[in-house]
Symmetry: C2
């Protein structure tokens, strides 16, 4: 996948923070994900398909997830419970949906999103098919740090 494909996703994270969280997110350097034996405490995934196939994952340490969800819901949850899980699923849906709207439609075929899924825990690894390249973007914000990983390939671009 080409590095510029990640820009709509980064902009969508910025939009999420400015419009829904009253905060600002700043990205670090975009890199290539390596298998990570110690992912963050909670991760939300959503699939992308259409003229591109891919997956987007947002991974949060517990503190960031709680800060974001409590800000969003005006709540004071202290555990990664089902409410947090639901809200984090909605966050990845919003980020991917925002990015989708920023991509040009090719041949009238827009990108489509799957339903989100959330993985939480402390003892798991996330693997990506060896033929795919995952780009990783670290973010900092007033609500804490988190990571976005994105992979996708457009039909025919061979990536």
């Amino acid at each position: 996948m080409k590095v510029e494909y990640i820009n709509p996703f980064i902009e969508s994270v910025y939009d999420l923070f400015s419009t829904m969280l009253g905060d600002e997110a700043r990205r670090g350097d975009v890199g290539v994900s390596k298998d990570n034996p110690n992912p963050r405490d909670i991760m939300a995934l959503i699939g992308i398909s259409g003229h591109a196939r891919g997956m987007v994952a947002l991974s949060f340490p517990k503190a960031t997830a709680l800060n974001m969800v409590n800000k969003l819901l005006s709540s004071d949850t202290t555990e990664l419970d089902d409410t947090v899980s639901d809200a984090v699923a909605e966050l990845v849906n919003i980020v991917a949906g925002g990015a989708k709207a920023k991509f040009p439609k090719e041949d009238g075929k827009p990108l489509d999103l799957s339903l989100p899924t959330v993985v939480r825990g402390s003892g798991y690894e996330v693997d990506y098919p060896s033929g795919s390249v995952w780009l990783e973007v670290p973010f900092e914000s007033g609500l804490g740090g988190f990571t976005m990983r994105v992979t996708f390939s457009f039909e025919g671009d061979g990536a």
Copy 2:
């Protein structure tokens, strides 16, 4: 989601076993997934979108994953390494791709698949958005047991 929507996925698992694994899979009763604090050792996920949005997950205990992958690749791997992870990703791709081919195209808009992702480990939970219903199908086979979970909703069916 309607129970009959799961049938193309079940048939696709049967096809996988009969055509690629030289074995036979038998399903147990279809049920509604509950959050599971102890999923299997390795899980492959793939997103579905198009006129339906969803996600399909295949979860395997270590022994079943190794048996299936070793049969598929004529290998004798004993650990859940990157080769196994790649092969399990391909299995969920094959099952979802087979199911996709069995669904009628509506308005010329077929179902599309995202890229697969694999989660492996022993300390994680998988959560589904509370508004979605995941159907779970246990399978038995000569290569061991495993579980398929499927959720999706068609546009306008309110499920």
